[in-house]
């Protein structure tokens, strides 16, 4: 492995990792704040990806596709919360009922996608300005990946600003640490949770839209994406955006190096990482001991 090759694989890994961050950050927020296990997250991604591929198109319509995906994510995620909120006193406290509810929602959403788009795998072609490759280290790196990395970084920066510099973020941080405190402060947890679910949906939708030229839309994603989100949330520690960011990049880079240099064991890289990290730090990389 030459240094240039190493850097090249690093880039591939980082671009995939940043996409992972987008699709997992929403999950970690709802899980960390509302202690809500939203298994429907994967199906929200799936439907948003299909919407992106049907609304999006060449040129400026690409932006339309991404926007439609984000809007779809927002609506679906809020609907899932509204379902749960209708009996929040019971469902909010009982993880297994959440699992049942959101797994059911996952099946319904995935079945809708399958029947509406005939189960066909679809793709969204990147705008022609971003469709080229950039010669690098004897290989070519797709320009779109660079754009995707930039867009994901901007979203990550906005999230950081939202969490660290706004009163909304302060409430979320307070809630993740101690939910009882929110009630004591007289904050409407319902409204805060709804806002976090909406944000979570937007992030999943953005991941689906921005990722559509790379990942496309296909049946089965509802589970694949869910597993990826679970991996990152648990590795990073529930509710920790910094943890999710670090875990996403770690998973992305490990995946890239695994595929490139140990192709026969690539499938084991991610799950191997999970086992090693959890055996070493049960609370996740950035988690606190009490989780």
């Amino acid at each position: 492995m030459t240094p240039a090759e190493a850097v090249f694989q690093l880039l591939i890994g980082l671009s995939f990792g940043l996409l992972l961050f987008l699709l997992a950050s929403g999950f970690t927020l709802t899980f960390g704040l509302a202690r809500f296990v939203n298994l429907a997250h994967g199906a929200v991604f799936l439907v948003a990806a299909y919407v992106a591929t049907s609304v999006g198109g060449p040129g400026w319509r690409f932006v339309l596709g991404v926007g439609a995906a984000a809007a779809t994510g927002l609506v679906l995620s809020v609907v899932v919360y509204a379902l749960a909120a209708s009996r929040w006193r019971v469902i909010g406290e009982r993880t297994l009922v959440q699992v049942l509810l959101t797994f059911g929602a996952l099946l319904v959403l995935a079945d809708y996608a399958r029947s509406h788009w005939d189960g066909l795998p679809r793709s969204l072609v990147a705008p022609s300005a971003l469709d080229g490759s950039w010669a690098f280290a004897g290989s070519a790196f797709p320009v779109y990946r660079l754009f995707m990395m930039g867009a994901a970084l901007v979203v990550a920066a906005l999230l950081w600003w939202l969490q660290e510099r706004t009163s909304f973020g302060a409430l979320v941080r307070a809630g993740v640490d101690d939910r009882e405190m929110l009630a004591a402060l007289g904050v409407s947890t319902r409204r805060l949770f709804a806002a976090v679910f909406a944000l979570s949906g937007v992030l999943a939708g953005l991941a689906a839209g921005l990722g559509a030229p790379v990942l496309g839309a296909a049946m089965g994603q509802e589970f694949d994406i869910l597993v990826l989100a679970l991996v990152i949330v648990v590795l990073g520690g529930p509710g920790s955006l910094a943890g999710a960011f670090a875990a996403s990049l770690a998973v992305g880079v490990a995946d890239a190096y695994g595929k490139a240099f140990l192709p026969s064991f690539a499938e084991f890289t991610m799950m191997g990482l999970v086992i090693v990290v959890l055996a070493w730090r049960p609370a996740g990389l950035f988690g606190t001991a009490e989780t």
């Binding site: 379902l83 019971v90 648990v234 084991f268 191997g272 989780t291």
Partner: protein, 347 residues
């Protein structure tokens, strides 16, 4: 003890137990060959669900990786007849139990230290690695699966397992043996320690028990029952396939336990019913997964109403009896003081 139970359990329920068992025994005499094999599928799921039930309800460990043990049992059973010339179903079952126990031990040691989401994820990770192995190992047939499996003999009993009815009773026997084993363990002093660990780990640890050792033992026991289900599964279909190790298998088993409630009879019943409902639905509409999903949503939302424990408590109150203590905490929202610790607690 048996005398006390006889006095406290209403006669009507004992009659119902007998009736239910009679119904299960009667299935081969009232159903056609397809219906009998369909219920065998239900029995396989019931055995798997019972193993997941044990970990979840007794140890508060929600496993999303029991497909791994189910699959290990299934592939061991397949290899036993295709590669190792084991022509005895009990020998194959014993072999599968040993293999499952040995392979589940290291997983149990790592997973036994984790709780809640971490436990869910680490079991899922191990199951996914097992599936990758099954997919990639050429000896096991890759994604085409291990084919050419035949049902072995049943020495010393003169049984012909290729007969649908005989096989049904074999599957029923494995289920009942598995359930009986788990129930005996739950009621033993060992089970009492497990439940003590579930309810208050510190207190039990203070008494000098090592919670990890108990969790690991419970995990391996549960894995062994799941492996036995895999054996019945393989000889039923006469092949083993990587889809047997898929996360959806684990998820379905966990869902059955969630739907079934706190007692072991719940998951057993739900497993059989769900298998039949799914088959009927999928024959009528290709939107059956959506219908099933909607059903899950409705059951989850109706959860306040769907609360057998609450009915039971109400019943007991009406009779002026004491509230059964053991599982009451499972179904009621925890008191605020315990909330922080039980936020992710399985209920």
């Amino acid at each position: 003890m048996s005398v006390r139970r006889a006095m406290t359990v209403p006669r009507v329920r004992r009659v119902a137990v007998v009736l239910g068992l009679v119904a299960l025994v009667a299935v081969p005499h009232v159903g056609d060959a397809f219906q009998v094999t369909l219920v065998v599928r239900g029995l396989v799921w019931a055995t798997l669900a019972a193993s997941v039930w044990f970990l979840l309800r007794i140890c508060d460990l929600p496993s999303l990786g029991h497909a791994a043990f189910f699959g290990i049992g299934a592939y061991t059973a397949g290899l036993a007849v295709t590669r190792w010339q084991v022509d005895n179903v009990f020998a194959a079952l014993g072999l599968a139990i040993v293999v499952t126990a040995v392979l589940s031990l290291p997983i149990a040691v790592i997973a036994g230290r984790l709780r809640n989401m971490q436990f869910i994820l680490v079991t899922l990770a191990f199951a996914e690695m097992t599936r990758s192995l099954a997919t990639r190992w050429a000896e096991l047939g890759g994604t085409d699966g291990l084919v050419g499996v035949i049902r072995p003999g049943a020495w010393p009993f003169g049984l012909d397992l290729s007969d649908a009815t005989t096989y049904y009773y074999f599957a029923l026997a494995v289920l009942l043996a598995g359930v009986a084993l788990l129930v005996v363990v739950v009621r033993s002093p060992f089970g009492a320690v497990l439940r003590g660990i579930r309810d208050s780990e510190q207190r039990v640890a203070a008494l000098g028990y090592n919670p990890l050792v108990y969790r690991v033992a419970a995990f391996v026991l549960s894995a062994v029952v799941a492996g036995s289900a895999g054996v019945v599964h393989t000889y039923l279909n006469r092949f083993a396939n990587p889809t047997d190790v898929a996360p959806l298998v684990s998820a379905r088993a966990l869902l059955i336990v969630v739907l079934g409630g706190a007692a072991i009879a719940g998951p057993v019943t739900v497993a059989i019913l769900l298998t039949i409902i799914e088959d009927a639905l999928s024959s009528h509409t290709d939107r059956w997964l959506g219908v099933l999903g909607a059903l899950y949503v409705v059951v989850a939302l109706a959860n306040g109403a769907w609360n057998p424990a609450a009915w039971r408590r109400a019943l007991v109150r009406r009779r002026g009896g004491a509230t059964p203590a053991t599982h009451a905490a499972d179904d009621a929202p925890p008191p605020p003081a315990r909330r922080a610790a039980t936020l992710e607690r399985t209920t």
